[in-house]
């Protein structure tokens, strides 16, 4: 049996051989274990869907020549130090021709000097920090438009446009939350919105009752919960029990992930969250096909944040490689200068940042996530949250 199979395989290989050029090795590290492990499927699924799609099209177009995509991947155990080592290994030892991004801001920052040293271009995805602007442009780019200070400004603009006069802040102490908060507080003051309550909590919080009781007593109209996936679920559950009645409730990271809706259920209706993409946006031609392909392959919805930025980074790389091939110098120039057609509309970089995609917010409306801000790209108007 096995022998027959191997003969068949050998025969298949013989037939396939003349047509197939050498596979293109693409390397990356992921936090498959450790602190960030639960965030990784959002990113890895995008990578795997893309590889499957590209290989189904006959391979990656490398300056006119099709080559099948082969991944070289390692687990960085959620440790940025390991990511540094892995990218050095990928470049010098595995000799991959292209690199994909690791997960999260710390890992992007950690590998940036490695990219710089080897002049190896990489399109980043799951990183958002005001500090990314300080990184020397040329070898790394960030597709996200959810930069904390821009987000804070837009959140305040959105609250003001809806006529809210009072605000509350509940923030995790991890970097992204603190960066948003640092810009949010002065922006609220400037807009004349009074901060009635402001609380912080540790990353491993298990009970928010005390904090939410204070929030309830202060009764702000706009509540900004600067949370991560685990504590976002905790917030939604306990805010419902306690009866937080703010008509505008922003929950930073989590509601875009498929599990959030499954765990929290219909009471999540009306929550606003970070995210700049929707498959309902008709003029982003690639958005709906991506959504459908993802749902078909994984039998769940994509994460509107991490899966989307990850997939965008692949589209950008694919289009740049089609034009420039894998020569590092040419590829760097292509990424820095081209305008890319992505599931999130056109993308062009200025320095290390995406200069086109607007900072935007999503709202859970029924079973869908709708773009509600800014109005120019909205797929549905914002609706005040009317209870849980």
């Amino acid at each position: 049996m096995i022998r027959k199979l191997s003969i068949a395989l050998a025969a298949a290989a013989l037939f396939a051989a003349p047509a197939a050029a050498q596979n293109i090795k693409i390397g990356f590290s992921l936090a498959k274990t450790g602190l960030f492990a639960q965030a990784v499927p959002s990113q890895l699924n995008a990578y795997e869907l893309w590889r499957e799609q590209v290989n189904a099209r006959g391979g990656l177009d490398v300056a006119g020549k099709k080559r099948m995509v082969e991944f070289v991947q390692y687990d960085d155990q959620s440790n940025p130090g390991n990511a540094v080592k892995i990218y050095e290994k990928l470049i010098t030892d595995d000799k991959v021709e292209l690199l994909l991004a690791p997960w999260g801001t710390p890992h992007h920052f950690a590998v940036a000097p490695v990219l710089e040293k080897y002049k190896f271009p990489m399109v980043g995805n799951t990183a958002a920090s005001v500090q990314l602007r300080e990184i020397k442009p040329g070898n790394i780019w960030f597709v996200t438009s959810a930069i904390p200070d821009k987000m804070a400004a837009e959140l305040v603009a959105m609250a003001k446009a809806n006529g809210y006069k009072t605000a509350g802040i509940v923030a995790n102490v991890l970097p992204l939350a603190k960066e948003i908060k640092a810009s949010l507080v002065p922006a609220l003051q400037k807009a004349g919105i009074a901060v009635k309550v402001s609380e912080e909590y540790p990353p491993d919080i298990k009970d928010m009752t005390a904090i939410l009781t204070k929030v309830k007593a202060a009764a702000p109209e706009a509540l900004f919960v600067l949370s991560y996936p685990g504590d976002s679920v905790l917030y939604a559950k306990q805010a419902k029990e306690i009866g937080i009645a703010a008509p505008f409730q922003f929950v930073a990271v989590g509601p875009t992930m498929d599990f959030f809706g499954k765990v929290v259920g219909p009471s999540a209706n009306g929550l606003v969250t970070m995210g700049h993409w929707s498959p309902a946006k008709a003029d982003w031609k690639r958005a709906k096909p991506f959504y459908d392909a993802y749902v078909k392959k994984f039998n769940e919805k994509p994460d509107y944040l991490d899966t989307v930025v990850s997939y965008m980074s692949l589209e950008i790389l694919e289009q740049a490689v089609a034009k420039a091939g894998t020569d590092k110098q040419k590829l760097r120039q292509a990424i820095a200068s081209m305008t890319f057609d992505t599931i999130n509309g056109p993308v062009k970089f200025q320095g290390v940042q995406n200069a086109i995609t607007p900072t935007a917010f999503l709202q859970i409306q029924g079973s869908e996530l709708q773009l509600v801000w800014p109005k120019a790209i909205a797929t549905s108007p914002f609706k005040a949250k009317t209870g849980w």
Binding site: K32, T33, Y74, D75, Q77, N79, P80, G81, V84, K85, E88, K89, T92, D93, T105, P106, F109, A110, A112, P113, K117, S129, Q131, E134, I135, K136, V173, L174, P175, K178, E179, A182, P202, P203
Partner: protein, 298 residues
Amino acid sequence: MRGALALAALALAAAALPAVAGDYHVGVGLGLLMYVALTQSWTVLSGMTGYVSLGHVVFYGLGAYVAVLLWGEAPLAAIVALAALAAFAFAALIGLPALRVRGPYFVILTFGLAELAKYVVIVVEGWLGKFSRVIFGAPDIETLYYIMFGLAAAATLMTFLVRRSRFGRGLLALRENEEAAETVGVPTVRFKLLAYALSALIPGAVGSVMVLRQTYFEPAQIFDPVVSFTIVTMAVVGGSEDMKGPLLGAAGFVLLSELLWANAPQLYMVLLGLLLIVFVLFAPQGLSGLLPARRRTP
């Protein structure tokens, strides 16, 4: 004599690595030297006095924080030295109350102390308006490697010298019976405190080097309890009865992890647990305890 020769050969090989290997292998070497330096330092306290520290990452983290604060303001050598001194001073300060408790209480206390320091740094960073920091223009890996080589060598030498000294004998005496040692004239309080501070000195410097390697500082990731656990594991597997133990433990672990990490990260953790159990049950003296016995048998 043979031991000294072997050690010299090892040192030569380590010193030559950057000349013959690529960045990846130099990076593996850097990690190995880091754990040699940390575990050797740890044995000065925990191996010799029996006060088991499960929070040595606190010194590593403090050193890293010193480096982050001073980077760009002071030369590299001064930063590494100051990081070491800061950790030393912190241990000397905290040691007096901490070393009043023994056994499991001391273990828990050191662990808690590291967590406390982590959250204090998070709060301080918040006041400073910094929520994570990116380090620009960090030295290249060869430079960091040679500094780490120096630190690992210094830690090994320190363990060796302490063991041979009157001070070291005093530490061993107080490990066996603190009251008895006190009675025969060992100044136990002073000795314990000095051992604690010495065991913190090099980990402070190691932290400063490793944060420059990562080029990214975020308190929750630098004060990572896994570093503390790994040190203890290496000491248990390698043995903490002489200076060979930490060398063997660190080498065994770092190399094993490099071999397994690529393909089977979960298996690595399972093996780690199994190894620990096997060594605690069957070879409480660690790898280094097995070596001479084997040499005698043939």
